[in-house]
Symmetry: none
Subunit: 226 residues, 2 copies
DNA sequence: AATATGGATGCGCGGTTTTTTCATGGGAAC
DNA sequence: GTTCCCATGAAAAAACCGCGCATCCATATT
C-alpha cells in the first residue's frame, strides 16, 4: 500500500513518514499542491494525506483537481477548527478530515479505515479513465490530463489519442489511422494525420520536440508507447 | 451538524458561535438575509438561526424564500414580544421562535429538539433537490432555482437539465440526448437540442453568453460541468 | 367552434473553431 | 552525399454552433 503525504512542513512530513513506514506502508511525499497533483498522476498512490495550507496550490484546490481524474481516498489536514467549518461546507471530494495538531494514532486509524472501505465498498460513479505515465484520458468528458492539469482536446484529437492509447506499443500507418478513425468520411490527405499528431504532442508531451509517448516509427507510422 | 447563524449584531453572533461550537456543532454565520439565502444554498446547513430585524433582507422574507427550495429547520429570533405575535400570525415556514434577550440554554435546547425531529422526519420524506453551484433543481416541483431565485422551466427544459445534472462532466451528443430524453417520441430535428440548451442557459446561467455549467463540447455535444 | 397563448420545433445566416491542405526546411536512413 | 520522410508554420477550407425568426402544435379561454 502506497501513501502520498503532502505538507510544506518538512518536520511533520518526516514524522508521518516514519510512523507510516513502521506500519508497513510505502510513503512518498510532496511539499505543495502542484507536486502532489503530478505524483498522484504518475505514482498512483492508494491514499493521499493532504495539508490545506500550502504554497503554490492549496490543499482544497489540489483535492478538487485530483478528483477530476482519480478516486483515490483523500484525507485533508487543517490547522484551525474554523477552517474546518469552511472545508466541510464545500464539496472538495475529500473522504476524511483531521485538525492539527492531531494524534498520530488517530491518523493511522483513519488511514486503516479508509483503505478498508476503499477495498470493499463499491466506488462512487465508476469513472472512465485511461492513464499512462503523466497522461490521463477522461473518456466521459472527452478531455485529457497532463500531470493532473486539464487539457482540452478537439473531437478528432481525442479520437486519435484514444485509439492509440487503447492499443499501445503498436505501430499504425497513416492509412490505417485514416481508415479506422476517419472511417467512412471523405478520405483526406495522408498528411492530415501528421498534423493531428503534432497537436497532440504540443498539448500532451512535456517536451513536444522529444516526445516520450506519442512516437514516430520512421517510414511506417505512429504509435503510443506505454 | 452544521448550523447557520444569521444576525447583524456581531457581538451576539460571536456569543452564539462560541456556545454552539462548545456543544460540538460546526457554525457558519451571515449578517443579512441575502447572505443567508446564498449560504443555505451553497453550504447546505442542518439548521438555521435567523434574526428578524436585519438590513438588506429581513428574517421573515429570508425565511419564506429559503422555504421555496429547502426544508432545513429554521428558528426565528425577534426583539420584542409584540413582534412575536405578528410573526406567529403569518406562516413564514419557520419551525420555532425565540424572543430576545433569550437564555442561551433555551436556544441550545430548541436546537437539539429541532435537529432530533428533523433527523427522524427527513428519513420519512426526503426532500428532492439537486444542487450544483448556484443552480438547484426542485425535482418535486419541476422548477429550478438560480441563486435562490425561482425560475420556471418547461417540461422538456426540465427533462434536459435534470438528465445533464444527474450525469455531470460527461459529454452527450445531440443524438444521445434525443434518444434518452425524447425517447420514443417522434424523432425531431437535431437542432432542437441546441434550442433547449439555449433556453436553459438564458434561464439558469449568470451570463448566458459565457456559460459556466451548461457547456458545449465542440464537435461532440453538450455537458453539465460541476 | 373560434381564438389566444405558450411551448416545441425547423431553418438559415454569420461568426467562430476545427480540420485539412500546402510549402519549406531539417533529419534519418543508407 | 543523396534521397526520402517527417516536423513545423501558415493559411485556406470545411464544419460547427449561437441566435433570431417563422412555424407547428396542444391546450386553455371565450
Amino acid at each position: 500500500m502506497k501513501i502520498l503525504v503532502v505538507d510544506d512542513e518538512a518536520l511533520l512530513v518526516k514524522g508521518i513518514r516514519f510512523n507510516l513506514q513502521n506500519e508497513g506502508y510505502k510513503v512518498i511525499t510532496a511539499s505543495d499542491g502542484l507536486e502532489a497533483l503530478q505524483l498522484v498522476q504518475t505514482q498512483n498512490p492508494d491514499l493521499v494525506v493532504l495539508d490545506v495550507m500550502m504554497p503554490n496550490m492549496d490543499g482544497m484546490t489540489a483535492c478538487s483537481k485530483i478528483r477530476e481524474f482519480s478516486d483515490v481516498p483523500i484525507i485533508l489536514l487543517t490547522a484551525k477548527t474554523e477552517d474546518m467549518d469552511k472545508l466541510m461546507g464545500f464539496d472538495h471530494g475529500a473522504d476524511d478530515y483531521l485538525t492539527k495538531p492531531f494524534n498520530i494514532l488517530e491518523l493511522k486509524a483513519r488511514i486503516r479505515a479508509l483503505l478498508r472501505r476503499a477495498g470493499t465498498a463499491e466506488r462512487r460513479t465508476p469513472s472512465h479513465h485511461l492513464t499512462t505515465g503523466s497522461i490521463t484520458l477522461d473518456l466521459d468528458g472527452r478531455n485529457a490530463y497532463k500531470s493532473g492539469v486539464m487539457v482540452e482536446l478537439t473531437a478528432k484529437e481525442f479520437d486519435v489519442i484514444e485509439f492509440l492509447m487503447r492499443n499501445p506499443n503498436r505501430v499504425y500507418s497513416r492509412e490505417a489511422l485514416l481508415d479506422t478513425i476517419w472511417a467512412y468520411e471523405y478520405r483526406s490527405d495522408i498528411r492530415t494525420v501528421d498534423v493531428h499528431i503534432r497537436r497532440l504532442r504540443e498539448k500532451l508531451e512535456e517536451n513536444p520536440a522529444e516526445p516520450k509517448h506519442i512516437l514516430t516509427k520512421w517510414g511506417v507510422g505512429y504509435y503510443f508507447k506505454k
